[in-house]
Every structure is written in structure tokens, then in C-alpha cells.
Amino acid sequence: MMASLTHATTTVAQTVSLFDGFDGFVLPVILKLVFVLAAFFVLPLVGGYLEHKVMGRMQHRRGPVEAGPFGSLQLVADGIKFIQKEDLIPSAADRWVFAIAPGVALVPAMLVFLVIPFGPGVFALDFELGLFYALAAISVSVLGVLMGGWASANKFSLIGGLRAGAQLVAYELPLIIAAITVAVQAGTLSLVGIVESQATFQLFGTGINVWFVFPQIVGFAIFFVAAMAELSRPPFDMPIGDSELVFGYMTEYTGIKYAMYMLTEYAGMISMSALMVVLYLGGWQLLPGVPLPGCEAGGGLFDCSPTGIALGVAITIAKIMALVFLMVWARVAYPRLREDQLQRVCWLVLVPLSLANLAVVTIAKVVF
């Protein structure tokens, strides 16, 4: 696995990253790491702030107002509070597994950011297998959840962990099939490649430039629902189910470990939204078939001026936040599904639908 990935990075890197423009080996690597970490720590905070404010407005309150301008530093303040808290480990817990579990959940969520393109040239790596890598990394997080649920030595945690395991494994299937469908349409697994192929993609048989969301509206819906389930976001939050399981697999966690689980969830929201933007919503493109202002043609790194690059990043982040907004909206509007209803939705609706979608798109691709 590792060997093949390394192979892919060294020999088949398709598009040059902005950070490869610097001389030497060490400097680009450091810049890439800084970029990934910055995206990982800043964007979830922005998403979280958006959630606070949007939920507040939808519920006749104002959301955070005290910390920082318009309460924008509330999550930073929360983070500082979490660090100060006592780090409790229950005496019956499996100490090592309990301690490692939040990290096991957190690190894969961070690794996904490695391949997400935020703008023309603004990404750390462009794998040939980028989509495969992102989906694989996301699915490792479930291990951390299961470990935490098991190691807590708490019945609520155990039930929560098992629910999470069942749910995350089940929803992986429609998620991956929907993603595969896009890969079929684009003819590549590279995330950058998928964005670029949407610049010139035309609706079957017509001359109209569109993003993949138009021919694949079903796939997009499936991916969105499955992504929310994968992230245990309401209405699919049975693993946490605060009114049933106290706080599910996180019941026994305090302080920084709890904060790590929370960061995993919000980073997951960002990375899933980013994947949706890349797969369906044309990445950094402003309009389908029209190059960005400041860019020419397909909009690769060398076609763009610095303003074009900045604009591309802004557009990507705006699209991501729009999807985060939809997720928050669902949280505000819906009650929680029941565990068996959740599984039924997955196996009886989403999986057959996604398979049918794959078949239709594949046939259309061959015919037209």
C-alpha cells in the first residue's frame, strides 16, 4: 500500500503544486506541511463558527458574541478551556487504547487534507489515486471511534461505539459507489484531474458546459446523505445520541481528548464538503466552462495569475461553507433517525440507487 502510494507520488504526479515552485527538497515539503496543518486547524474552526452562528439565527438567538469580534474566537476559547481541563481516564478503562483512540480518529482526518485541491495549484499533492486515498483515509477514522467506545468500559460508550461501527461501515458503500461514478465520468481518480475535467465537460449530446452535479444529481444526493451519516451528523447521530446514550463513544472523554474527537468531526465536515465540491461542484471554478478571472483556459497553475489563484481558493472555500451550511440546516431541522431505520435507508435505498446510478452513468459514458 505505502509502496504503491510512494510510487504514485514520485513518478505520476500530474499537476504541479504551487509549493513545488520553490527550490530544493526541504522547503517545498515544509511549506506543504504548513499548508495542510493550517487548513486542518483553521477551516474546521471557520465551519464551527458558521455552525454556531447559523444555528443561533435559526433558533432565535444570537450565537456566540463575547469571544473576539462577533464571537468569532469562541472555538479558540473552547479549545483553550479543553486544554486546561483535567484529563480523566476511568479506572476500569483500557488505558492505552483509551488514550490512543482520539488520535486514531484524528490523524486520518488530517491526512485527507493532503490531497484536497483548494485552488489552481493550491494543494499539497496530486495523487493519481487521490480519490481512492481520500476515501481510504476517511474510513480509518471509524477505528478510533470503535476503540474509544470499547476502551471506555462504559455501557453507553460501548453501544455508541458499536452503532458507529455498523453505521460507518454501512454508509461507506453508497459513498464509495457514488464517488466511483464520478471517477468513471471524469476518467481519472486524481482529484485535481476531476476538477479540471469539469471545466470542459459537456452534458451528453448537447453543447452545454456543466459540472458533474447536473448529470449526477442522484449521485450527489447519495454522497451528501452518506457523508452526513459517515460524520455522525444529525439526523444520523445515533452513535452520539445525547438523549439515549448520554454522549455515545465520547461519554467518558474529557479535556483535550474530547476536543480531538470534536475536531475530527468538524475536520470531517470540511473534508467531506471539499470532496463534494471537487467531485460535483467544479472545485475552484466560478461558472462551468468559463475560466476564472485572471486565469486562462482550463485554469491550471501556470494559466493563473496570483489574483486568479486567490479567487479560486476563495470560491472553493465558499462552496465548502455552503455545504457546511446545508449540514447545519439539517441538524437544526430534523430529529434523529432510529438505528434500524438508518440501516434500512442505507441498504434498501442508497445502495441500490447508487448502483443503478453507476450503471446509468457508465452506459451513458459509453454511448455518448
Binding site: 430534523y334 434523529r336 438505528e339 434500524d340 431505520q341
Partner: protein, 393 residues
């Protein structure tokens, strides 16, 4: 794990392509061990210190045992050491969401024993307050039940309306939860100037916002999926444990003491009693929500009827109920509240027995939860509306 090893053996395939032969030794049932989970006394879904012990087989509840008494505050005994006016400040605390209705029950009992004539205006104001109190209570449960099913927003909506109503009641009584507005023979004080006008306004506001709950909660597909057919309660079981209020009405029994045994002036106005069909969680919530609407209808009628006149009678320095006993039942927001008041002619009751609706309603839970899934158990727990202080007294 060891059970699995001895009972089930997977034998390797003998030749390629033959597949795996699975042989079960002993009975083929997969042996599992039940897990006992204690929901409460400190659990988010029990909104208080109610405890229910669930025997779980996976996610399925095999047995549910409510454990009450964590909040026993000895109201019945305390009441024996307070005089009849002081009891008012005591009884509005056992069901803290229906303070006014509780006071009303005791006031009616004392008046009945002392054979007092209560002025008309006092009776109409009592009805008005009781109905506003009922709406306050029901709004709270609309919010908290949705919260138990995972929807956070209705709670905020409900508190928006609750705040308006509490503001209104505060202007007359000085209290937001514990009103202490009754006294034997009437009310402590008349309504403030402009109260009725504001009451009409609040009534209109709540009425225009009521469709929000019908759409957002009752009409929501997921809400219906979580509540329809969950915890069906047959009327005979409900009656055998003495369930009342929305829990009983949901089973199709239109029992409401405002109609069947009218007190105050309920006989002079129309009181509609919403009933359900299946007695499931959905019907219980449906009845609760419709009771808000019927209460608003009652309030509008009261506004039209409100007479002028005094609101209390002159009381002797020492209120003493004559020797004897009486039982008064009123329709509290959660069901029928009964007070058995026994007096030896002294200045305090000799015995004040409470028959609280929550205590009886909670007794339906072992029946309802048996065989339900864990999330359904929570759906049932929330839909059998109770206040922990009202169970434990």
C-alpha cells in the same frame, strides 16, 4: 467468547472450490448475555432524577423497571405542619411546571370543606390562569420531547412563547413558576390594569405561532417515523394503572375532568377534548399539541366572559377547616390531580394525600417498553409526559 468457541466451529474447506462448511455443535442459537443499563438518575433523557433500569438484549429492551424516589421531598408530611394558606407555596412545587393548577386543587379542597362562596370573578381568573399554566407546561414538553428525539430547535421556539406567557403571568402574580396566587376563598390580589388586553395579545401571538410546531415537529417525516406505532397503549391497560391526561386521551378515552366533572366555571364554556386512536407516542404528542389549541380556545372564551367584582372573600384570622375529609380532582396539565384533604378541625391539615398524574402515568412504562428498541424506549419515556417532582413528591 468462550461460549462461541465451544458451540460453533468453522471447518476449513477440504478442497478448493468446496467452500466453507459451517457446523453448529449444540443448539444453533447464538448465545448472548443480557446487559443491564441504568438510564438515570442522572441521564439527559430523564430531565430530572428519574431512573429506569433496562435489561437489554442488544438494542432490544427485555424488561424495564422504573425506580422512583430520588427526589422525594416529603410534601405530604410537610403539608401537615403548614396552615391552609401556607400550603399554597408548598404544593406549587411538586409539579413545578403546573404550579397554578396545583394550588388550585388545594384551594378548591379547602373551600369545599369550609363551604365558602368564591366570587365569580375569582373563579374566572382562576380558569384563565390555569389554562395559561397548561399551555406553559405543554410548550415545555413539546420542546423537550423533540429534544429527546434529537431535534434541538423546537425547544428554542417553545421557550420564545413560554417567555411571553411567563411575562404575562408574572405581571399578575409576581412569579414565573411558583405563582402562589391562590388563597382559600379566592385570589391574593386582582389582575393588574391592562392584563386582559395583554392576555388577548399573547393568546393571538401563540395561536399564530402554533402552526410552527405542527409543521416542524408533528409533520416531520422523521418524527413520524420515530413515533408512529411506537409504544401503543391499549385503553384497558391505561385505565388499570390509572393513567390520565394526554397518555389516556391518546388511547381514545375522552376523559377530562373539566368536562366529566366540571369545577370552577368549566360547565359554562365549551371544552374540546382531543383524543388519539392507537395510544402510541405519536398520538400522545398529538393530544398534547392539540390541548394547547383547545386551551387557547378556552382562554378566548374566558376573555369574553370575565365579570367584574371582588376576587376574594374576607378570611378569618385563622383559617380552620372543619373536621372531616374531602377529595378534589382537577385536570392538571399532565392528567388528573387529586387531593385528599383530611382535617381534625385544626389550623393545619391532618393529612394531605396527593394523587399525582405523573406517578400514575409512569407506571405504564414497564408495559410500553417491553420489547421496544432502545431508541424507542427513549421515545416512549419522553412521550409519557411526567415531571420528576410530581412522581416523587
Amino acid at each position: 467468547m468462550s461460549d462461541l468457541d465451544t458451540k460453533e466451529r468453522i471447518q476449513p474447506a477440504t478442497a478448493p472450490g468446496e467452500g466453507i462448511a459451517v457446523q453448529f455443535v449444540g443448539d444453533a442459537d447464538f448465545p448472548t448475555q443480557d446487559m443491564s443499563v441504568s438510564i438515570g438518575p442522572a441521564h439527559p433523557a430523564t430531565h430530572g432524577v428519574f431512573r429506569i433500569v433496562l435489561e437489554l438484549d442488544g438494542e432490544r429492551v427485555k424488561q424495564a423497571t422504573p425506580v422512583v424516589g430520588y427526589m422525594h421531598r416529603g410534601f405530604e408530611k410537610l403539608a401537615e405542619h403548614r396552615d391552609f394558606r401556607q400550603i399554597m407555596a408548598l404544593v406549587n412545587r411538586h409539579d413545578w411546571l403546573s404550579g397554578f393548577s396545583n394550588e388550585l386543587g388545594v384551594a378548591l379542597a379547602v373551600e369545599q370543606m369550609m363551604e365558602m362562596e368564591v366570587p365569580d370573578r375569582a373563579q374566572w381568573i382562576r380558569m384563565l390562569m390555569a389554562e395559561w399554566n397548561r399551555i406553559l407546561n405543554h410548550l415545555m414538553f413539546v420542546g423537550s420531547y423533540a429534544l429527546e428525539l434529537g431535534a434541538i430547535t423546537p425547544m428554542f421556539y417553545a421557550f420564545r412563547e413560554r417567555d411571553d406567557i411567563q411575562h404575562l403571568l408574572e405581571s399578575a402574580t409576581g412569579g414565573r413558576l411558583h405563582f402562589t396566587y391562590n388563597q382559600p376563598g379566592g385570589l391574593k390580589i386582582d389582575l393588574p390594569k391592562g392584563f386582559l388586553k395583554e392576555s388577548v395579545q399573547v393568546s393571538q401571538t401563540v395561536r399564530t405561532r402554533l402552526p410552527d410546531y405542527f409543521d416542524l415537529v408533528l409533520g416531520n417525516e422523521i418524527f413520524q417515523g420515530r413515533t408512529k406505532g411506537v409504544g401503543p397503549l391499549p385503553p384497558d391497560v391505561a385505565l388499570s394503572v390509572g393513567a390520565t391526561g394526554p397518555t389516556l386521551q391518546a388511547t381514545g378515552v375522552a376523559e377530562d375532568s373539566r368536562v366529566t366533572e366540571p369545577y370552577l366555571k368549566y360547565g359554562e364554556i365549551d371544552v374540546e377534548v382531543p383524543v388519539g386512536e392507537n395510544g402510541d407516542s405519536f398520538d400522545r404528542f398529538y393530544c398534547l399539541l392539540h390541548r394547547i389549541r383547545t386551551s387557547l380556545d378556552i382562554i378566548d372564551q374566558i376573555h369574553d366572559h370575565m365579570p367584574a367584582g371582588p376576587v376574594n372573600t374576607k378570611l378569618p384570622k385563622m383559617v380552620k377547616a372543619p373536621e372531616g375529609a374531602t377529595y378534589v380532582r382537577t385536570e392538571n396539565p399532565l392528567g388528573q390531580l387529586g387531593y385528599w384533604l383530611e382535617s381534625d378541625g385544626g389550623r393545619t391539615p391532618w393529612r394531605l394525600k396527593m394523587r399525582t398524574p405523573s406517578f400514575s402515568n409512569v407506571q405504564t412504562m414497564p408495559y410500553l417498553m417491553e420489547g421496544a428498541l432502545l431508541p424507542d424506549a427513549i421515545s416512549i419515556l419522553g412521550s409519557v409526559f411526567f415531571v420528576v417532582g410530581d412522581i416523587d413528591r
